[in-house]
Amino acid sequence: MITEFGHYALVTALFAALIQSTVPLVGAARGDGAWISAAKPAAIVQFVLVAIAFAALTQAYVTSDFSVNNVYENSHSMKPMIYKVTGVWGNHEGSLLLWVLILALFGCCLALFSRRLPPSLMARVLAVQGMIGVGFLAFILFTSNPFLRLPHAPLDGTGLNPLLQDPGLALHPPFLYLGYVGFSVAFSFAIAALLEGRVDAAWARWVRPWTMAAWAFLTIGVGLGSWWAYYELGWGGWWFWDPVENASFIPWLSGTALLHSVIVVEKRDTMKAWTVFLAIVTFSLSLLGTFLVRSGVLTSVHAFATDPARGVFILILLILVAGGSLALFASRGPALKSTGLFQPISREGGLLLNNLLMSAAAAVVLLGTLYPLFLDAIGGAKVSVGAPFFNSVFFPIMTPMAAAMAVGPLLAWKRGDLFPALKKLWAAFVMTAAAVIATWSFHSDGPPIGLLGMGLAAWLFTGTLVEFAERAKLARVPLLESFKRMAHFSGASWGMTLAHLGLAVAIAGMAGAGSWKVESIQVMKPGDSVDVAGYQYTFNGARQRQGPNYSSTVGSFTVREDGREIVTLQSEKRVYPVRNMPTTEAAIHTMFLGDLYAVIGDPDKDVEGGFITRLYYNPFVVWLWAGGLIMVLGAALSVADRRYRIGAPAHRRQAATAKV
C-alpha cells in the first residue's frame, strides 16, 4: 500500500516537474508575473513528492517487503538494518531515485533561499532544473521503476553485493550525487544567462556558493571512493584510474576550473562565455559520470547495471542536455560581451592558467577513459587504458599547476609583477629546498617523482602561507593589527587559503604513497616474522569467526619496531553465503608518517597452517584524505561567506528586474 502511494507520488512529481519546466519559462519570455510565480511552488511540490516516493521505497527496504522486485533483488532479511537502508541506493533504480531526490532538493533550496534573485532569472533557472527533473523522472518511471511488484512474494531477497556492504561505500553515492547534481544549479544558471543574454557580477555571486557547495560534496565523494578502494579492495592502492573513478574525477577537474573562472567574472567582468561553457561542460560530465556507471558502456568492477535500453535513454538525455545547451551556447554565447582586459601576468592570468591546465587535465582523463570505447566502436580490440598512461600525462599537467598556484594569488588584478611576487616567496624557495634535501636523505633510492612531489607540496604550502601573511601584513605591522586584519578576511579568502593548503597536504600524500610504498607477499605460518620497511610483522595465526550474515577468517599480526610492540592488526577475509562472494577487510594502523597495512589471503595448500599474507607500509597515505578534508573545510568557509547571501549591489539588481 505504502509502496503504491510512493509510486503515485513519483508519477505526480513528473507532472509537477513538467509544470515547473514549462510555465515559468513561458512567463519569463512574455513577462507574465503570474506564470513566473508558478516556478517556486512547483519546485517545492516536486521535492515533497519525490521525498514521499523515496520514503516509501525506504520503508519497503526497512520492512523487507520482498513482494517489491527491487527489494527482493537487492536486499536480504539477514542484512543489518543500516545496510537495509543504504541498500535503497545500492542499486540502479534506487540510486536514480536518490539522484532525483537530490535534484529536487537543490531546486527546492533555490526556490526557498534565493529570494533576491530577479524573478525572470529565477523562473528560468527553476525551469531548467525542472527539465532535468522531467528527464530523470521519466527515465525512472519508464525504464527503471523501483516500485514494481512481484506476482508472488519470495521468501527472502537475493542480497546486496557484499562489496557494497560497507560504511564507506554506503555513503559514497549520496556525496557523489550531491556533487554531480549540485553542478546542475550552475548549469541552470548558465542556461538562464544564455536565455537572458546577460552575465554579470551579480550572476557570478549567485552561482559561486552553489558551485562551491557542489564541488565540496564531489570532493568528499571522490575522497570516500578512494578511501574505500584503499581499505576494502586490499591491494594497498588508493587510486586505480578505473573508469568509474575517472567518471567522478573528470567533473571534479572541470568543476575546479569553473570555481575559479566564476571569480574572474565576479571581480573583473570577463571570461563570461568561457564560464558559461564550463558550467555546461561540468554538468554534462556529471551526467556522463552517471551514464558511464549506469549503462555499462565501459565495464568496470563497480558497474552493477548493464542494460542497453536504459543506456539508450540516458544517451538521449545526455544528447538533449549537452547537445541542446551547446547549441544554445553556439547561437547565444557570442552575445556575452566581456569588458575587463588584463595582462598575461596578473591575477586573471593566473586564474586563466589554472583553467587551461584543469581543462587539459579533464580532457586527457576523459580521452583515456573513452579511448577503449572509441577503439571498440571502430572495430578494434577491447583494450583498457591503465595507470601508466594517466600518470604520464596527468603529472606533467599538474606540476606547473601546483607551481603556479603559489604565485597567482600574490599577483595584482589586471597587471601584476612577477619578480616582486617571486621575491616575496623566498621562504617558499627555502622550504622547497629543505623538503627536497630531507626527502633525498631518507629515500635517495626512490623515484624522482617523489622528490618532485614533496618539493611541490612544500612550495605550495609555504607559498600559500606567505600570501596569507602578506595580506595580514604579518611582521610588518604590530601583531595585534595583523590579527585584526585576519578577523576581517572574508570567508572566501579564508577558504582559498585553506583549500590551497589542503591541496599541498594531499600532494605530499600522493607523492609519498605513490613513491615509497613497501609491499611484501609471502606464505606465513603462525610465529613467522617478516620485515617490511623497518617494521617486523609477526603472524599470530588465523581463526574462524561468524558475522551476522557472513563467515570469516581472521588473521592476527603483531607489528614491532625495534622490538617495541606497536599494534596488533586483525585482518579479515569474509565470505557472504547469499552471494558466495569473498571480500577482504584489510587491517590498517594509521600513523602520522604512514600506514601499517595487513591482508590475510587464502590458506596455502602446501604449508600446514600457512596462509598467503600481503603486508604493506604505505607512507603518507593518510595525508591524502586529510588534505581532501582541509579542501572541503575551505570550500565550506567560502560557501558561508555572507557576501553571497546579501547578493549583488542594489543598482545591478534594479537593472536586472527592470529588464523583465
Partner: protein, 180 residues
C-alpha cells in the same frame, strides 16, 4: 560565418562526434553473449559427477539430440525460484535437461539440495572451479542453454525460466530445432 562564431560552434561539433561513438558503443554491449557463442559448437569440457551419481557431464553427452544445459548452485536463490519449473520439464518429459552444479563450496551442498527439493536433471556435472561456466561465458546463475543435435549452442537464457518465457520463446525454438 565569423571566426568567433566558429569558436562557439566547436564544442557542439566535438560533442556530436563523441555522441556518435557512444551510440555505436551502446550497440556493442560487452556482456551480450550471442555474438560470441550462439551458433558455435559447444566448448570442449568434461565434468566429474557430483556425489551420489556415477556419471558426470561432458561435451560428448550433449550431441545426438536437442537438450538443455542449466547452470545452477545451491547458493543461488533465483535457482530455487526456477526449480519447480525444472521439475515440471522433467515430469512432462519435454526435453532432456542436464545440469552443471556450479561453484559449490562443499561437495555435499549440491546433492543435499537436490535431495531436499527434487532432482530434475538427466546428467549432472560438478563444476566447483567454474571450468565449464567460464567456457560457456556464464555470468550468473541460473543460466540455460539450448543445444541442438549437432552440439551447437542455439540459444541462451539468463535468469530463472518460467512458463511465460517457455511458451513464448524457448519451447518454439526447441520444436523448430527438432524439425531440422
Amino acid at each position: 560565418m565569423t571566426m568567433k562564431r566558429m569558436m562557439f560552434l566547436l564544442p557542439l561539433v566535438v560533442f556530436m562526434v563523441i555522441g556518435v561513438y557512444f551510440a555505436i558503443g551502446l550497440t556493442k554491449d560487452p556482456r551480450k553473449l550471442p555474438s560470441v557463442l550462439i551458433n558455435q559448437t559447444i566448448p570442449e569440457f568434461s565434468l566429474a559427477p557430483i556425489k551420489g551419481r556415477d556419471r558426470g557431464l561432458s561435451s560428448e553427452d550433449l550431441k545426438g539430440q536437442v537438450s538443455l544445459v542449466n547452470f545452477w548452485g545451491s547458493w543461488c536463490i533465483a535457482c530455487k525460484i526456477e526449480h519447480p519449473f525444472l521439475m515440471k520439464i522433467k515430469e512432462e518429459n519435454l526435453v532432456p535437461l542436464h545440469g552443471v552444479n556450479w561453484r559449490e563450496v562443499d561437495p555435499d551442498d549440491g546433492p543435499d539440495w537436490l535431495k531436499k527439493y527434487g532432482d530434475p536433471y538427466t546428467l549432472i556435472g560438478d563444476d566447483p572451479k567454474s571450468k565449464a561456466a567460464i567456457a560457456f561465458g556464464v555470468y550468473g546463475a541460473p543460466e540455460t542453454f539450448i543445444i541442438d543435435a549437432a552440439g551447437i549452442i542455439r540459444h541462451r537464457f539468463a535468469g530463472p525460466m518460467n512458463q511465460k518465457v517457455w511458451d513464448e520463446s524457448l519451447w518454439p525454438i526447441i520444436q523448430e530445432l527438432r524439425k531440422q
